[in-house]
């Protein structure tokens, strides 16, 4: 059930995010926050499929890379107006999700997780093999910005993140979300309840892929460059860590986790070689003492007071 406190907290969080570039007025901070918002879209979309149904996706970067490269091809190789990327990237990512989902989500067991992991690794290598078109290790350079002002682009990204999160949260709270949670509980029982489990799994993967691909395109048009690192397993794992830190299955938690860990990485930059060490200690601390995550469980405790 959505309480008044939830609405207030959501509005407050959006207001803070909207105020950050006005307070700091630094293109460096705007840049970091734009990237963090993209991570927020990736973490939320991972959580929608995998957090709710419990079918872990170890290759979310497949959809991110597909979206980003779609933007790169259209813009750099074919000279399309960059706005087209925002339409084409989710479309291509959804095609990839169908290609992956149809053979593997009909099955129970680890096939989906493993297929996603390998598909993203295969795509990473394909970008290097077909370097004539993809630019190989260097990737595609010289994408056009969608908006000239970085501040305006930050607000565009924030707007799309908020809209995506609202959509995902709306579906998660509907009867559709109830079915996804039931799939997590027991797939066979779900079938015995007359639910077409395969349909719901594939459909949620499509939604998840669309938003991840859209985030990939937004990221590409911020960096003005796409490269094979967008298909890496490291990226997929980083997203999963953000989801765990935020609290799985809550949609808003993973967004918080993504923002927190991105900001943490940047804050620790001053520590140079100790940076990874501190980052890891913080992660281990959170995952060890708060196995349910930090942000969503914390909010669940606070909101009870407002009932």
């Amino acid at each position: 059930m959505i309480l008044k406190a939830d609405w207030i907290a959501a509005l407050l969080a959006v207001a803070v995010l909207a105020a950050i570039p006005l307070v700091f007025r630094s293109s460096y901070i705007i840049g970091i926050m734009t990237v963090a918002l993209c991570y927020g879209m990736w973490a939320a979309s991972w959580d929608f499929m995998s957090g709710l149904t419990g079918r872990e996706n170890f290759g979310h970067s497949l959809f991110i890379g597909a979206g980003a490269y779609t933007a790169g091809f259209l813009n750099v190789n074919f000279g399309f107006n960059p706005w087209w990327s925002l339409l084409a990237a989710p479309f291509v990512a959804v095609l990839f999700s169908l290609l992956m989902g149809f053979p593997t989500l009909r099955l129970r067991g680890p096939y989906f997780a493993l297929a996603m992991l390998s598909a993203s690794a295969v795509m990473q290598n394909l970008t290097i093999i077909f370097s004539t078109y993809t630019g190989g290790q260097d990737g595609l350079n010289g994408l056009f910005p969608i908006l000239d002002s970085t501040l305006a682009y930050y607000y565009l990204t924030l707007g799309i993140l908020v809209a995506s999160a609202a959509l995902l949260k709306f579906i998660a709270n509907s009867s559709w979300g109830l079915i996804l949670r039931a799939i997590r509980g027991d797939e066979a029982t779900c079938q015995a309840a007359g639910i077409n489990v395969t349909f719901y799994k594939i459909a949620s993967l499509m939604i998840s892929a669309a938003i991840a691909g859209l985030g990939g395109a937004l990221y590409a048009h911020y960096q003005l460059q796409v490269g094979p690192d967008l298909f890496t397993v490291v990226l997929s794992i980083n997203i999963i860590i953000m989801v765990y830190v935020g609290g799985m299955g809550s949609i808003y938690g993973p967004i918080g986790g993504a923002l927190f860990l991105n900001v943490l990485t940047e804050t620790l930059r001053g520590l140079s070689e100790f940076r990874l060490w501190v980052y890891t200690v913080v992660l281990v601390f959170i995952l060890f003492f708060l196995p349910q995550g930090a942000i969503a469980p914390l909010w669940r405790r606070i909101r009870v007071a407002f009932r």
Partner: protein
């Protein structure tokens, strides 16, 4: 009278094991029929074949005049054939109400809006009204069995398959659950097909029995006929002897 369920020549092999062998029988609408047989006789495999969780190697299943061959489990449920599992399998991490709501979303019974009132009525019907907002993880086993039945009923079945509904229940819980099944049969007119090992309740509940051993049907008949059937006695007690007869009231368990 047209049979509600007509099974013909059903076969299933698992490697060298012929788990279900040439099984044929019919269930009449409004009947309550039991499957009897020692462990490993193929009873649960037969249930899995009827409900689409396992594909048969050969044989046909006609339900309400239509073939169920090749249908997925959720499609069979939406034709009006629901089941419960031998081990209660609730949706962990969800409340009792939510567990039943999921089944109310099956295409067969789905209505617009939240099915709150239906869930309420179903929970009252199986005696879980007081636990509606509990997380299923805290329910005792007996309540989970009732939850299984409520979930199956939520899909408004014509035929209900119960796989060992009394398994794991204490003596005090068996009677009320037995009454519930009888009520569903008598007042709701539901056709019921059940597997059970607790013979005392089983014999009092069912009108007809299908006895199985080693994947085959060895006898069909009323409870009184079945307990005197030489092949049934042999399956349970070894070679039949003249002085062994079973009293349906006393039970074997």
């Amino acid at each position: 009278m047209n049979a509600l369920l007509q099974v013909t020549g059903l076969n299933k092999r698992f490697g060298g094991l012929h788990a279900v062998k040439e099984v044929s029988f019919a269930l009449q609408p409004g009947s309550i029929t039991g499957v009897l047989g020692p462990n490993g006789a193929g009873k649960t495999t037969m249930f899995n074949l009827l409900t689409g969780f396992i594909r048969p190697d050969a044989g046909t299943v006609l339900f309400d005049g239509q073939s169920l061959t090749g249908l997925a489990p959720h499609q069979i449920v939406n034709r009006g054939l629901a089941r419960t599992f031998q081990l209660a399998r609730p949706f962990a991490g969800m409340t009792v109400t939510e567990n039943i709501e999921v089944a109310c979303l099956a295409p067969r019974v789905r209505q617009s809006g939240k099915p709150r009132e239906r869930v309420r009525a179903l929970l009252d019907q199986v005696g879980l009204g007081g636990q509606a907002e509990f997380e299923v993880d805290v329910l005792p086993y007996g309540d989970l069995r009732r939850l299984e039945i409520a979930r199956a009923l939520a899909t408004k079945p014509k035929l209900l398959l119960l796989d060992e509904p009394f398994a794991g229940l204490g003596a005090a819980e068996v009677g009320p659950l037995s009454d519930l099944i009888r009520r569903l049969h008598k007042s709701e007119g539901l056709t019921i097909f059940l597997i059970e090992h607790k013979l005392r309740e089983f014999m009092q509940l069912v009108q007809e029995i299908i006895a199985m051993d080693f994947g085959e049907i060895i006898a069909l008949g009323t409870p009184t006929e079945i307990v005197q059937h030489p092949r049934v006695i042999e399956a349970y007690l070894g070679t039949a002897q003249n002085d062994v007869s079973l009293d349906p009231g006393a039970g074997l368990a």
